[in-house]
Symmetry: C2
Subunit: 458 residues, 2 copies
């Protein structure tokens, strides 16, 4: 079986289809507005990074039921034939507004808004959350790794323990757009044009009877990319073998670009290995480290002055292990011209078509965001922009390099404490008076403006 | 783009290809033996559940490079033309031994062993780990949910916050084989034959001007599956509307199967809702709950006597949020007839072709496992069985129901404390004297038998 997951419109929750049957029966096809947002920021994240928009737009453009999928729906006995026939013609014809990828955002701010006939806007919920949630999760972790080691080579090594195939691929994408230099995942090159990096595993060394011979053979097989893994048996002994081998390779025009250490006390080993390499004249041979790294470990190694120029960051990045999920949602804000909200305990939502207005202080740094109604005249830069109209993109896909540049600019405008790894006071997300009034009107009772849902404040 | 992730052999780490180029150059195609195992169990897990074998066998059977993939490899400029040509003919022709899915296992025990020409056994590493790691992770979490609520209806609701499409699909599979009743993920039905469940979202209620009218319409659209979500505005008021509506529906032959609560204090709401339903004569209408559930919350609700018959378990299950990854590896144990091991600090491995022998006490409960050499004559049940020979399966795929039955049997034979949610003393994993001697011989120095790698003991 080749897993059809990413491609199938059936990768959705059953209740989307049962609700669609209900909407179909009642002819409820008027325009609905849904927001995707993160309810609360975890204490481990000072900000989040918008990511995944491009993959969502691809999903919306390609949305349709194949004959096979319609066959399953028909055979399930859960739905009417009329409804199944109608599904056959279903396409996404709506509008999308979104924060461009690489935009920094906070709790309660819409990252993406869908405006479409109710059944379409409803049907896309599960996959849209699935795509945005994970890429935001990884991008928001990856940017912390970059901030912890601004000038190091950082490579995503997380494929093997990412949660499935698509997680491995989308994590490479999210990590790269958030500032990493590339990935070990080959598929990310043809699919997303991301630089790929790779050296050797311990098994390559072990399959040879002699470590030095393994080094020599690898160097000849990959003469332009000689990074030798030296910790299979004894790290410092491995480094001495590299020194022994280097002149032989040099005569063949081969340069040992770096050695890799993957176990033990990385800082201590790196220092001893640096001495061995320097004493052997290999000043240009760098040290690359991997093994259970994350932003805190990177910072520790940098602060310890470990002579390591590059890092493979794996499992903890692609599983976002300290924060493996975000409290995010995709919620109805308007239907048939009327604003809507839910008031479930701890999960109330803001109604209407909203905009995020970002204000900068005299220093150029973000001072505060205001969540208001789209047509309000509020100070600040409106962050949500139209990206799809009538089911068609308004612009060609952005390059990941453009996204990286946007994030860099966003980081420059972020108050310095938020760029640190420790929890810092986030800029407030204010609720505009008009939005607060609208919510109160819908509730049927006047309500004080400062009791807002979620993490936001008014 | 339809994500080709699961289907592409390029979903691998670049170093697999660079190593293969090295093996190719040197003609290193002799037989290699690799083990997949989990180095250490996290304190939050008393045991792990083997899962993912079937998807690995599918992957191995289908392994080949397409013209497009070969084109990328050729154009990358990293590999020789001879090598690329040789890749075109590469298939998996090896043998696989494995723990059958649903088998309970512990640290250091091989879950799967690949015996194949070195390049093949090497190339499959990244994807093989990617498939096994995640399914073991979710199955080992799901079984804890089942143990916490043995007689409740338990449904996987985790697609939206699973890490990508494949995670959503494979989590449904792993959760079902570990004892859940089904999933909300529609695709799991046609792909894996897993029962799907679904009701309605808050947006369905909100899109109507009147909650009772929304209930009525949903019931008529899905008359055989009426589960009404009652917490959009006020949970108890919602329950009273269900009581009001039920006689009208009954006259149309429609039964309200259950109500769903998704917010607030689930136990308190469930008690009040139960009273309202009972007072209204709806004794047969059940209560289904969801919202940030995991095994601990399930146990708390059961212990509190909350009148809830079914649960949707979502994000915390499909991200295995308390343990988002396992420390697992795929390591060379033999090449060209010679046992191999790495001795990297904290990551040393056991050499040779191994078997896990499980001994049961007089009570029929697992007493101890012994990791020994395959050809040793040791007491206990050998757990690793041959599943693939020469690249072909030895048996047709097992049904997930057969896997569920095996896990149930395994659970019955597990010491009772291990079936609890709190950390308990795990049975020891002994190292056979012959295996310890082999490792010592390879190290070139006699070593005491009790200093073994990883979590195991001798």
């Amino acid at each position: 079986m080749t897993l059809p997951a990413g491609a199938s419109v059936l990768l959705t929750d059953l209740y989307q289809l049962t609700m669609l049957q209900g909407y179909f029966d009642q002819g409820m096809e008027e325009t609905a507005v849904f927001d995707f947002f993160v309810r609360r920021l975890p204490p481990e994240r000072n900000f989040l990074v918008a990511a995944g928009l491009e993959t969502v737009l691809e999903f919306l453009e390609g949305l349709r039921f194949t004959d096979g999928e319609l066959g399953w729906i028909r055979d399930s006995g859960r739905f009417s034939d009329d409804f199944t026939g109608w599904l056959a013609g279903l396409r996404f014809t709506g509008d999308v507004h979104a924060l461009p990828e690489g935009t920094i955002f906070f709790a309660g701010e819409p990252v993406l808004r869908v405006t479409a006939p109710l059944p379409q806007a409803q049907l896309v919920e599960s996959r849209l959350i699935n795509l945005l949630h994970f890429q935001i999760l990884v991008a928001s972790k990856a940017v912390r790794c970059r901030l912890a080691a601004p000038d190091a080579l950082l490579v995503d090594f997380g494929l093997r323990r990412a949660h499935g195939a698509e997680a491995g691929l989308l994590a490479a994408r999210a990590a790269y757009l958030a500032g990493l230099d590339g990935t070990s995942n080959v598929l990310a090159a043809p699919v997303y044009g991301i630089p790929v990096f790779g050296t050797m595993a311990h098994s390559f060394i072990e399959a040879h009877d002699d470590e030095l011979e393994a080094f020599a053979r690898f160097a000849r097989a990959q003469p332009d990319n000689v990074v030798l893994l030296i910790d299979t048996y004894d790290t410092e002994a491995g480094a001495r073998k590299v020194v022994e081998l280097a002149p032989r390779l040099a005569r063949q025009g081969i340069h040992v670009k770096a050695v890799r250490i993957d176990s033990g006390d990385l800082a201590a080993h790196a220092r001893r290995v640096r001495e061995i390499l320097d004493a052997g004249g290999l000043h240009d041979t760098g040290i690359f480290a991997s093994g259970n790294l994350d932003e805190h470990e990177l910072r520790r190694l940098r602060q310890a002055g470990a002579p390591i120029g590059g890092f493979g960051v794996g499992t903890r990045l692609t599983t976002s292990s300290d924060v493996p999920y975000l409290d995010c949602a995709y919620k109805l804000a308007e239907y048939a011209g009327r604003p809507r909200r839910k008031r479930s305990e701890g999960k109330a939502t803001w109604p209407g078509r909203k905009q995020v207005f970002r204000e900068y202080g005299a220093s150029g740094r973000v001072e505060a965001d205001t969540l208001g109604l789209e047509d309000e005249d509020l100070p600040g830069e409106p962050l949500l922009v139209p990206v799809m109209q009538g089911g068609r993109r308004l612009h060609p896909p952005e390059t990941l390099d453009a996204v990286r540049a946007r994030l860099e600019q966003n980081l420059e405008r972020l108050p310095a404490p938020l760029r640190g790894l420790e929890p810092a006071a986030r800029p407030g997300v204010n609720i505009s008076p008009a939005l607060a009034r609208l919510a109160a009107t819908l509730d049927g009772t006047p309500r004080p403006e400062k009791s807002g849902p979620g993490d936001t404040k008014s």
